[in-house]
Protein backbone atom coordinates (compact mmCIF):
# COMPACT_ATOMS: atom_id res chain seq x y z
CA UNK A 1 0.00 0.00 0.00
CA UNK A 2 1.18 3.51 -0.85
CA UNK A 3 -0.51 6.67 0.42
CA UNK A 4 -1.91 8.90 -2.33
CA UNK A 5 -0.49 12.17 -0.97
CA UNK A 6 -1.48 14.11 -4.11
CA UNK A 7 -5.20 13.57 -3.41
CA UNK A 8 -5.20 13.21 0.39
CA UNK A 9 -7.13 16.13 1.98
CA UNK A 10 -6.95 15.55 5.75
CA UNK A 11 -8.11 19.01 6.90
CA UNK A 12 -10.92 19.55 4.39
CA UNK A 13 -12.17 16.01 5.03
CA UNK A 14 -12.00 16.42 8.80
CA UNK A 15 -13.83 19.77 8.58
CA UNK A 16 -16.46 18.42 6.16
CA UNK A 17 -16.87 15.41 8.42
CA UNK A 18 -17.42 17.70 11.41
CA UNK A 19 -20.17 19.49 9.43
CA UNK A 20 -21.80 16.13 8.71
CA UNK A 21 -21.60 15.37 12.44
CA UNK A 22 -23.11 18.78 13.21
CA UNK A 23 -26.01 18.09 10.83
CA UNK A 24 -26.61 14.72 12.48
CA UNK A 25 -26.45 16.44 15.91
CA UNK A 26 -29.01 19.10 14.90
CA UNK A 27 -31.37 16.47 13.53
CA UNK A 28 -30.96 14.30 16.62
CA UNK A 29 -31.32 17.06 19.22
CA UNK A 30 -34.09 19.09 17.54
CA UNK A 31 -36.06 16.46 15.64
CA UNK A 32 -35.17 13.47 17.81
CA UNK A 33 -34.23 11.39 14.79
CA UNK A 34 -31.28 9.63 13.16
CA UNK A 35 -29.88 11.35 10.06
CA UNK A 36 -29.71 8.22 7.91
CA UNK A 37 -30.09 9.15 4.25
CA UNK A 38 -31.25 5.76 2.97
CA UNK A 39 -33.80 5.52 5.79
CA UNK A 40 -35.16 9.02 5.20
CA UNK A 41 -35.45 8.45 1.44
CA UNK A 42 -36.66 4.83 1.70
CA UNK A 43 -39.23 5.83 4.30
CA UNK A 44 -40.56 8.54 2.01
CA UNK A 45 -41.22 5.92 -0.69
CA UNK A 46 -43.75 4.31 1.65
CA UNK A 47 -45.58 7.69 1.60
CA UNK A 48 -46.35 7.71 5.34
CA UNK A 49 -48.91 10.33 6.35
CA UNK A 50 -47.50 12.93 8.75
CA UNK A 51 -43.96 11.91 7.89
CA UNK A 52 -43.79 13.29 4.38
CA UNK A 53 -42.99 16.92 5.24
CA UNK A 54 -39.85 16.49 7.39
CA UNK A 55 -38.47 13.74 5.13
CA UNK A 56 -38.94 15.93 2.04
CA UNK A 57 -37.46 18.96 3.83
CA UNK A 58 -34.28 17.07 4.82
CA UNK A 59 -33.83 15.68 1.30
CA UNK A 60 -34.53 19.10 -0.24
CA UNK A 61 -31.78 20.59 1.94
CA UNK A 62 -29.38 17.84 0.88
CA UNK A 63 -30.20 18.23 -2.81
CA UNK A 64 -29.99 22.03 -2.53
CA UNK A 65 -26.56 21.94 -0.86
CA UNK A 66 -24.55 22.44 -4.09
CA UNK A 67 -26.55 25.59 -4.86
CA UNK A 68 -25.87 27.01 -1.37
CA UNK A 69 -22.18 26.02 -1.56
CA UNK A 70 -21.96 27.56 -5.03
CA UNK A 71 -22.88 30.98 -3.63
CA UNK A 72 -19.56 31.09 -1.76
CA UNK A 73 -17.14 29.03 -3.83
CA UNK A 74 -17.08 27.14 -7.10
CA UNK A 75 -18.10 23.50 -6.71
CA UNK A 76 -15.14 21.09 -6.63
CA UNK A 77 -14.52 19.09 -9.79
CA UNK A 78 -15.70 15.49 -9.64
CA UNK A 79 -14.84 12.46 -11.70
CA UNK A 80 -17.22 9.54 -12.21
CA UNK A 81 -15.33 6.63 -13.72
CA UNK A 82 -18.30 4.24 -13.88
CA UNK A 83 -20.28 3.97 -17.13
CA UNK A 84 -24.07 3.90 -17.45
CA UNK A 85 -24.51 0.13 -17.04
CA UNK A 86 -22.26 0.04 -13.96
CA UNK A 87 -24.09 3.05 -12.47
CA UNK A 88 -27.46 1.34 -12.99
CA UNK A 89 -26.28 -1.92 -11.41
CA UNK A 90 -24.57 -0.08 -8.55
CA UNK A 91 -27.65 2.07 -7.88
CA UNK A 92 -29.90 -1.01 -7.70
CA UNK A 93 -27.49 -2.76 -5.31
CA UNK A 94 -27.18 0.33 -3.10
CA UNK A 95 -30.97 0.83 -3.05
CA UNK A 96 -31.76 -2.80 -2.16
CA UNK A 97 -28.77 -3.28 0.16
CA UNK A 98 -29.28 -0.15 2.26
CA UNK A 99 -32.95 -0.97 2.83
CA UNK A 100 -32.28 -4.66 3.55
CA UNK A 101 -29.45 -3.78 5.95
CA UNK A 102 -31.41 -0.85 7.48
CA UNK A 103 -28.82 1.83 6.77
CA UNK A 104 -25.93 3.26 4.81
CA UNK A 105 -22.75 5.25 5.44
CA UNK A 106 -24.69 7.94 7.32
CA UNK A 107 -27.13 5.91 9.40
CA UNK A 108 -24.77 3.06 10.34
CA UNK A 109 -21.35 4.57 9.58
CA UNK A 110 -21.77 7.99 11.20
CA UNK A 111 -24.82 7.92 13.52
CA UNK A 112 -24.62 4.24 14.48
CA UNK A 113 -20.93 4.35 15.34
CA UNK A 114 -21.49 7.63 17.22
CA UNK A 115 -24.00 5.93 19.47
CA UNK A 116 -21.69 2.91 19.73
CA UNK A 117 -24.22 0.46 18.32
CA UNK A 118 -22.78 -3.02 17.77
CA UNK A 119 -25.29 -3.58 14.95
CA UNK A 120 -23.93 -0.54 13.12
CA UNK A 121 -20.36 -1.65 13.70
CA UNK A 122 -21.16 -4.99 12.03
CA UNK A 123 -23.01 -3.27 9.15
CA UNK A 124 -20.16 -0.78 8.63
CA UNK A 125 -17.59 -3.59 8.65
CA UNK A 126 -19.74 -5.45 6.09
CA UNK A 127 -20.13 -2.59 3.61
CA UNK A 128 -16.51 -1.46 4.00
CA UNK A 129 -15.23 -4.98 3.39
CA UNK A 130 -17.50 -5.43 0.37
CA UNK A 131 -16.36 -2.04 -0.95
CA UNK A 132 -12.66 -2.90 -0.54
CA UNK A 133 -13.11 -6.31 -2.20
CA UNK A 134 -15.21 -4.89 -5.07
CA UNK A 135 -12.67 -2.18 -5.90
CA UNK A 136 -9.83 -4.72 -5.68
CA UNK A 137 -11.62 -7.00 -8.16
CA UNK A 138 -12.62 -4.20 -10.54
CA UNK A 139 -9.27 -2.35 -10.49
CA UNK A 140 -6.70 -5.08 -9.98
CA UNK A 141 -8.15 -8.40 -11.10
CA UNK A 142 -10.35 -7.39 -14.05
CA UNK A 143 -8.97 -3.93 -14.90
Amino acid sequence: MTIDLANFTPWASLAGGALIGLAAAIFLLFNGRIAGISGILGGLLKWPKGDIAWRSAFLLGLIGAPAAYGLFAPLPAVQVEAGTVTLLAAGLLVGIGTRYGSGCTSGHGVCGLSRRSSRSLVATAAFMTAGFVTVFIVRHLIG
Binding site: G17, I20, L29, A57, G109, R115, V135, H140
Partner: protein, 144 residues
Protein backbone atom coordinates in the same frame (compact mmCIF):
# COMPACT_ATOMS: atom_id res chain seq x y z
CA UNK B 1 -40.04 24.51 13.12
CA UNK B 2 -39.52 20.77 12.57
CA UNK B 3 -39.52 21.35 8.85
CA UNK B 4 -37.00 24.20 9.10
CA UNK B 5 -34.62 22.17 11.28
CA UNK B 6 -34.90 19.17 8.93
CA UNK B 7 -34.16 21.41 5.94
CA UNK B 8 -31.19 22.97 7.78
CA UNK B 9 -29.82 19.56 8.83
CA UNK B 10 -30.06 18.31 5.24
CA UNK B 11 -28.38 21.44 3.92
CA UNK B 12 -25.46 21.30 6.39
CA UNK B 13 -25.12 17.56 5.75
CA UNK B 14 -24.84 18.20 2.02
CA UNK B 15 -22.37 21.06 2.42
CA UNK B 16 -20.30 18.79 4.67
CA UNK B 17 -20.25 16.16 1.94
CA UNK B 18 -19.07 18.72 -0.63
CA UNK B 19 -16.41 20.26 1.67
CA UNK B 20 -15.09 16.82 2.62
CA UNK B 21 -14.70 15.79 -1.03
CA UNK B 22 -17.16 12.90 -0.75
CA UNK B 23 -19.30 14.05 -3.68
CA UNK B 24 -16.39 12.96 -5.89
CA UNK B 25 -16.77 9.21 -6.53
CA UNK B 26 -13.14 8.90 -7.65
CA UNK B 27 -12.09 10.10 -4.17
CA UNK B 28 -14.34 7.53 -2.49
CA UNK B 29 -12.92 4.78 -4.69
CA UNK B 30 -9.44 6.13 -3.87
CA UNK B 31 -10.20 5.24 -0.25
CA UNK B 32 -11.61 1.80 -1.12
CA UNK B 33 -8.56 0.97 -3.27
CA UNK B 34 -6.27 -0.38 -0.55
CA UNK B 35 -4.01 -2.16 -3.04
CA UNK B 36 -3.49 0.91 -5.20
CA UNK B 37 -2.52 4.43 -4.30
CA UNK B 38 -4.57 4.84 -1.13
CA UNK B 39 -6.35 8.11 -0.23
CA UNK B 40 -7.27 7.96 3.50
CA UNK B 41 -9.55 11.04 3.29
CA UNK B 42 -12.84 9.15 3.77
CA UNK B 43 -11.55 7.85 7.08
CA UNK B 44 -10.97 11.44 8.19
CA UNK B 45 -14.52 12.38 7.14
CA UNK B 46 -15.96 9.58 9.26
CA UNK B 47 -13.60 10.46 12.11
CA UNK B 48 -14.64 14.14 12.09
CA UNK B 49 -18.33 13.25 11.90
CA UNK B 50 -18.11 10.65 14.67
CA UNK B 51 -16.16 12.99 17.00
CA UNK B 52 -19.05 15.48 16.83
CA UNK B 53 -21.62 12.68 16.80
CA UNK B 54 -20.27 11.05 19.97
CA UNK B 55 -20.83 14.28 21.91
CA UNK B 56 -24.32 14.76 20.46
CA UNK B 57 -25.44 11.20 21.17
CA UNK B 58 -24.00 11.31 24.69
CA UNK B 59 -26.02 14.47 25.31
CA UNK B 60 -29.13 12.97 23.68
CA UNK B 61 -28.92 9.83 25.81
CA UNK B 62 -29.69 11.91 28.91
CA UNK B 63 -32.86 13.37 27.39
CA UNK B 64 -36.20 11.71 26.76
CA UNK B 65 -37.52 14.53 24.58
CA UNK B 66 -35.93 16.51 21.75
CA UNK B 67 -35.39 20.28 22.02
CA UNK B 68 -38.63 20.70 20.03
CA UNK B 69 -40.46 18.45 22.47
CA UNK B 70 -40.79 15.23 20.45
CA UNK B 71 -40.07 11.75 21.69
CA UNK B 72 -36.52 10.66 20.80
CA UNK B 73 -36.78 8.11 18.02
CA UNK B 74 -33.61 6.10 18.32
CA UNK B 75 -33.20 2.58 16.94
CA UNK B 76 -34.02 -0.12 19.46
CA UNK B 77 -32.90 -3.24 17.56
CA UNK B 78 -29.81 -4.92 19.01
CA UNK B 79 -29.71 -8.32 17.31
CA UNK B 80 -27.19 -8.96 14.57
CA UNK B 81 -28.93 -10.97 11.88
CA UNK B 82 -28.58 -12.11 8.28
CA UNK B 83 -30.45 -9.08 6.94
CA UNK B 84 -27.97 -6.67 8.51
CA UNK B 85 -24.89 -8.45 7.16
CA UNK B 86 -26.25 -9.34 3.70
CA UNK B 87 -27.72 -5.86 3.31
CA UNK B 88 -24.41 -4.27 4.27
CA UNK B 89 -22.49 -6.52 1.85
CA UNK B 90 -24.92 -5.79 -1.02
CA UNK B 91 -24.68 -2.06 -0.39
CA UNK B 92 -20.88 -2.28 -0.24
CA UNK B 93 -20.63 -3.93 -3.66
CA UNK B 94 -22.72 -1.17 -5.24
CA UNK B 95 -20.73 1.47 -3.36
CA UNK B 96 -17.45 0.04 -4.62
CA UNK B 97 -18.72 -0.20 -8.21
CA UNK B 98 -19.82 3.43 -8.54
CA UNK B 99 -18.19 5.29 -5.64
CA UNK B 100 -21.58 6.70 -4.65
CA UNK B 101 -23.52 6.07 -1.46
CA UNK B 102 -27.00 7.59 -0.95
CA UNK B 103 -25.97 10.97 0.58
CA UNK B 104 -23.35 12.03 -1.98
CA UNK B 105 -25.56 10.82 -4.86
CA UNK B 106 -28.41 13.10 -3.72
CA UNK B 107 -26.04 15.99 -2.97
CA UNK B 108 -24.74 15.70 -6.57
CA UNK B 109 -28.14 15.73 -8.32
CA UNK B 110 -28.35 19.50 -8.66
CA UNK B 111 -24.95 19.66 -10.40
CA UNK B 112 -26.79 18.95 -13.65
CA UNK B 113 -24.54 16.03 -14.60
CA UNK B 114 -26.33 12.92 -15.85
CA UNK B 115 -24.28 10.28 -13.99
CA UNK B 116 -25.47 11.00 -10.44
CA UNK B 117 -29.02 11.18 -11.82
CA UNK B 118 -28.69 7.73 -13.41
CA UNK B 119 -27.29 6.29 -10.17
CA UNK B 120 -29.92 7.94 -7.95
CA UNK B 121 -32.78 6.83 -10.21
CA UNK B 122 -31.54 3.22 -10.08
CA UNK B 123 -31.13 3.53 -6.30
CA UNK B 124 -34.76 4.66 -5.88
CA UNK B 125 -35.88 1.78 -8.13
CA UNK B 126 -33.85 -0.58 -5.93
CA UNK B 127 -35.57 0.76 -2.82
CA UNK B 128 -38.99 0.34 -4.43
CA UNK B 129 -38.12 -3.24 -5.50
CA UNK B 130 -37.11 -3.98 -1.90
CA UNK B 131 -40.37 -2.50 -0.59
CA UNK B 132 -42.47 -4.58 -3.02
CA UNK B 133 -40.54 -7.78 -2.21
CA UNK B 134 -41.04 -7.18 1.51
CA UNK B 135 -44.78 -6.81 1.02
CA UNK B 136 -44.98 -9.87 -1.21
CA UNK B 137 -43.04 -11.98 1.29
CA UNK B 138 -45.14 -10.69 4.20
CA UNK B 139 -48.31 -11.60 2.28
CA UNK B 140 -46.87 -15.04 1.45
CA UNK B 141 -46.16 -15.69 5.13
CA UNK B 142 -49.68 -14.65 6.09
CA UNK B 143 -51.15 -16.97 3.46
CA UNK B 144 -49.18 -19.91 4.89
Amino acid sequence: MHIIMALLAGLIFGIGLIVSGMTDPSKVIGFLDLAGSWDPSLGFVMGGAILVGLIAFRFAARRDRSLLGDAMRLPTATHIDRRLVLGGLTFGVGWGLAGYCPGPALASLASGASKPLIFAAAMVVGMVIFELLERLLARGKQAV
